[in-house]
């Protein structure tokens, strides 16, 4: 995945200016930034939901998204939500079922979305994004709306599934710890530019204590200074 000299303006306001980004196959990149830093806009450009004002955008297909909300269609069963947009044949049924099994929801294939908890619904959204074997997976603050415990479990699940399927991943988040625990590389975005670009040189599974220096550096870049 490659972005070269990408600009994005809303009226006179520049959100992204001459932005460059390359994500290699199988690389997990976390994009940190305060609200209004342009990180969600960047993701929307990659997802094809927003045109760039200038520059070159190369996105490998298939490219799928997990949004902050599950965004399930309430009139479709869980299974049909997972294979939404695909033909409704036996093959996609099998693939969708195994994707559901991977996120631990094999039993819920025939359930209606409104019967699921927030965490379960988000896992369905994850299964929907993964069953297409994406070459680029975009995660738009997918854990932000979950409670603290569910969030930890979801993060572990995402780490596990990404390690298994190896898509290129761009995770947009404002949670420094989450970025450090999950990503191979962390980017801090400020005023439409990459302020910081760091490899996370920590062995997996990661411990919070090892990450302290990087954590401080990233928080500093975001304007948070702890004493």
């Amino acid at each position: 995945m490659q972005l070269r000299q990408v600009d994005k303006r809303f009226g006179a306001r520049a959100i992204l200016s001459a932005f460059d980004l390359r994500i290699g196959a199988g690389e997990f990149v976390a994009l940190l930034g305060k609200s209004g830093s342009g990180k969600t806009t960047l993701l929307r450009i990659l997802a094809g939901l927003e045109p760039a004002s200038g520059g070159r955008v190369q996105v490998p297909q298939p490219c799928t998204v997990v949004f902050q909300e599950p965004r399930l269609i309430e009139s479709k069963s869980v299974l049909d939500n997972v294979r939404v947009g695909l033909p409704g044949d036996a093959r996609t049924r099998q693939v969708a079922l195994s994707a559901l099994a991977e996120v631990g929801l094999g039993e819920h294939a025939d359930a209606w979305p409104h019967t699921l908890s927030g965490g379960e619904a988000q896992r369905v959204a994850l299964a929907r994004a993964l069953m297409r074997e994406p070459r680029l997976l975009l995660l738009d603050e997918p854990f932000a709306a979950l409670d603290a415990l569910t969030r930890l479990k979801m993060q572990a699940l995402v780490a596990d599934l990404c390690a298994r399927h190896r898509p290129a991943v761009l995770l947009v988040t404002h949670d420094v710890d989450e970025a450090i625990m999950l990503a191979d590389r962390v980017l801090v975005l400020a005023e439409g530019r990459a302020l910081l670009d760091r490899q996370v040189e920590l062995s997996r599974p990661r411990q919070r204590a090892q990450a302290e220096p990087l954590r401080r550096e990233l928080l500093g870049a975001l304007g948070v200074h702890e004493h």
Partner: protein
Amino acid sequence: MSELSMHAPPRLYALTGSRLRGLSLRVLVPVLLLALWAYGSYAGWIAENVLASPLEVVRTAARLIASGVLWHHLSLSLGRALLGLLVGGGLGLGLGMGAGLSKLGEQLIDPTVQMVRAIPFLALVPLFIVWFGIGETSKVLLIAAAAAKPMYLNAYGGARSVDPKLVEMARVFGLSRRRQLLELYLPTALPSLMVGLRLSISLSLIALIAVEVINTSRGIGFLMLQAQEFFKTGILVVCMVLYALLGLGSDLLVRALEQTFMPWRRSRV
């Protein structure tokens, strides 16, 4: 434990007792009114030409049914209402979905409809008679005009109630425009469409009464008009009950449709 078992049965009885009392309180007033009506007719307080006795109403109903007179009028009325509902409801549905789904449709359709919908359909009666005569055409079209309005408003609102975030999701996951209509917009609009159908049916029944007491020689409205001329209050009451049954029946029908076509809402309490 002993205390629990000692107290549990009386509490249970009390519950059933209060339930029974609630039910009897509910039916008390209707039963009293019916008794008053029956006794009043029997005692001669209520004249036959003001209000027929309950017994006379039942006899009248039985006579009308046995002679086939009721069905003779009812079948035509139902046909009119149904045809008007189909034409008007269909038109409202088509225009409402068109206006709700596309910007162009909205600009083309909605302002005009908003202007026209301010006209009460009863005000159209004279004009429709001038245009379409006093025959079936003007009657069906008046019913259609009445039925179209609520269907349009609810279809328009329903089609627009789709969450834009879901539309984004559908785009990302490659749901074609045609499949978006069938799998996202239509199911989302369905609850509104059912509300529209409910209102359209009740308005077409009202319109049915209106057009049938104006100029007809057959239909429930005509039966009422005739009964009114000859002070046959028994027939009037039978017709009123009939309208109530039609309303009730259509409500049950829509409820059954909702159960069938919106299974994802069934399990929701």
